[in-house]
Symmetry: C2
């Protein structure tokens, strides 16, 4: 029997107990022995729950119990999740986490401790919910060089953008509806301003490069300024707008990591990733593009990913080898030099097209209702700023393409 | 240093040598030691190749060399691939294979030998080329019950169907073009008649159920009879036609496995899997739908998958646990009871709609150019036969939906 402890008995914690109970037989077959939840740490009591008798309120009960081999951290936030994780790893217990904030902020140190102590720190559920992506990137993509990652990583914003696209609604209206339905938090800032996606792309970038950036410091733009007109423009061009986390390795080996809304073309496999689904498109030197797709959130999908990590951690023969290094200034690519296709909309008419064409050399143009929209080939941020500074027309909106 | 031997120095064998050479530094870092190709078995000599000096013509040189820990079988076909694989495993050497025919035909026995001898039999490259799918299904989906798999598994047929859809061309014309471009074999039967896809879905079904069916015996229909008119009908309904390998577990636990062309709706993530790409959509009790997407064939993607298996096999701490059982008659679901949505086209006009509606109760109808096309809710094969037997109109074509 393998004893584990769950830290946090909220949505994901409850789901994890449910998966372990519902699929007990299958899990025991895979593991060759039973998986037993010995403790659940939570501030609250759950007298009505069938797991209520497992609840403890003090972490040292878990930490000091040598029978507990695996601690499952589903508390969220940085503290005390970080301190609890560190203490468990230092005690030689493996830790499974669904907590992207803790992984993004402290992953490098926690992975180093796990390696030193011969235990594991696993976090499949921290990115992409139920989608297998962390382990495939670590194991299946081990022999290839990852060149870029483009990913839809936040279900709430993707739901909002899908609704805007399908129903022609404005951002604020869809957000209010999503909040009413429980798809968006009362305070949606971390989602709609892209911080949640930033933490996740920083984790994926670390998997790809071995270097972890500070999620708070990467170039980040949310979806709050996207209008229904922008969405209609995208549709007219055969695109849609998605919030994209993007990692790429520049030619000089430096790392670029950003979150921003982008025009995504119909030819891109991320185009059809709709509603609360997530998609992670990884480009590498040998495999070309591979994509992982599925439910990026939700109780059971996320809990399923947690339990697959528990099985992995419970396998006695695995060791931790992955190491991350904190990024320093030399690792980070200059965002000003970042080059990609662009979309601009200006106030203007047919008569203004000559100026636009001269300055931007667009590949597509659309003129309607006093508005000129264009798509360009790759331009750097710097050349965008230069071009806009000499253009006499009033800019309405600008986007990157993917 | 870990010594390996490559069996077969064709397209995939050459690609594998290339990946190991090009990414030597990365592989050594992952492995903690160098990966060395000691022998290449082939009937031919390759005096011009930088690997030419490694070529041997007798397998016993490899088999009797105790330094060779991993044998990489990329010969294709059943024989002597099966005999060579079995001999290697019996000698305690792990085997990595890209050979779907050998895995589908002899996987159960070979996995049993690997488990008995404490070595590994791995075949990530046998399905979906460079797409990580076998290992994610084994490891990440270990704690969940897989309910169904729907997959585009053959790049050649998907290329042909994409061309037919995009350019309105007939099957024979596109096939001729694909053969000219090297996307289709001179003898394309295994692809266009669905045998290649059948072998792959049988392997995925075994991963999902632990039971392996005979690929030659599953219900199978290729793409040779699909007309440009069928494709236009699909488009009119907002669908496209794809060759789909389908596994599902019936309610009584029996296994259903089939390959057939299907109408795939725009809402399905497989809809946008175009050209030579593959997509594997897996539905499970906890994770919901996850999809794996990428290049299902090609020298470097397939070789990349082979090398990820070599790294896995070279990891000293892993053991083989997966076991397959050969299917017996009781395992196999009755195809006659298989239920899914249907598409029918009949010769007929507006005046015939009443009869059609009475018999088939369709959800959508399309009448044009003397042809009535309908989409229905789920019907069993048996009820399809019954309905067609009482319908007075001449059937032009029928398809399943997904």
């Amino acid at each position: 029997m393998i004893d584990i402890a769950l830290l946090g008995f909220g949505n994901i914690g409850g789901g994890t107990a449910e998966v372990i109970t519902e699929n007990r037989e299958l899990i025991e077959k895979q593991l060759g022995t039973a998986l037993n939840i010995k403790y659940i740490l939570d501030l609250r009591d759950f007298p009505e729950s069938p797991f209520g008798h497992l609840v403890v309120h003090r972490y040292d009960v878990i930490l000091n119990d040598p029978d507990v081999k695996i601690v499952v951290e589903m508390m969220g936030g940085s503290h005390p999740a970080y301190e609890y994780t560190k203490a468990a790893l230092l005690a030689g217990k493996s830790v499974v986490s669904s907590n992207k904030e803790c992984v993004a902020n402290f992953g490098a140190e926690l992975l180093a401790i796990a390696a030193e102590k011969g235990c594991r720190y696993l976090f499949e559920a921290s990115v992409g919910g139920g989608i297998p992506v962390i382990r495939p990137m670590m194991v299946d993509l081990a022999p290839v060089h990852i060149k870029s990652v483009s990913a839809i990583l936040n279900g709430t914003t993707n739901y909002i953008l899908t609704k805007m696209a399908n129903e022609g609604l404005a951002f604020a209206d869809v957000l209010a509806d999503a909040q009413k339905k429980g798809y968006a938090e009362a305070n949606p800032a971390a989602d709609v301003e892209g911080l949640d996606a930033a933490r996740k792309i920083v984790i994926l970038a670390a998997l790809a490069s071995g270097v972890i950036l500070n999620a708070d410091e990467i170039s980040r733009e949310g979806i709050t300024k996207i209008t229904d007109t922008d969405m209609k423009t995208a549709e007219s061009f055969g695109y849609t707008i998605k919030l994209i986390g993007r990692f790429e390795k520049a030619e000089d080996g430096k790392i670029l990591c950003m979150v921003s809304p982008r025009f995504v073309s119909k030819a891109n496999p991320l185009y059809t990733v709709s509603d609360v689904f997530n998609g992670i498109l990884v480009d590498s030197d040998m495999l070309g593009e591979v994509m992982f797709y599925g439910k990026g959130a939700g109780k059971l999908p996320t809990a399923g990913a947690v339990v697959s990590d528990i099985l992995d951690a419970a396998s006695p023969h695995r060791v931790s080898t992955m190491q991350w290094r904190l990024a320093n200034a030399d690792d980070i690519a200059d965002v000003e030099s970042y080059s990609c296709g662009r979309v601009f909309s200006f106030e203007g008419n047919e008569g203004d097209l000559d100026e636009i064409k001269r300055i931007f050399n667009p590949t597509s143009c659309l003129v309607e209702n006093g508005k000129i929209s264009i798509i360009t080939d790759a331009m750097t941020e710097r050349s965008v700023a230069d071009a806009l500074s000499i253009c006499s027309l009033k800019l309405i909106s600008k986007f990157r393409t993917l």
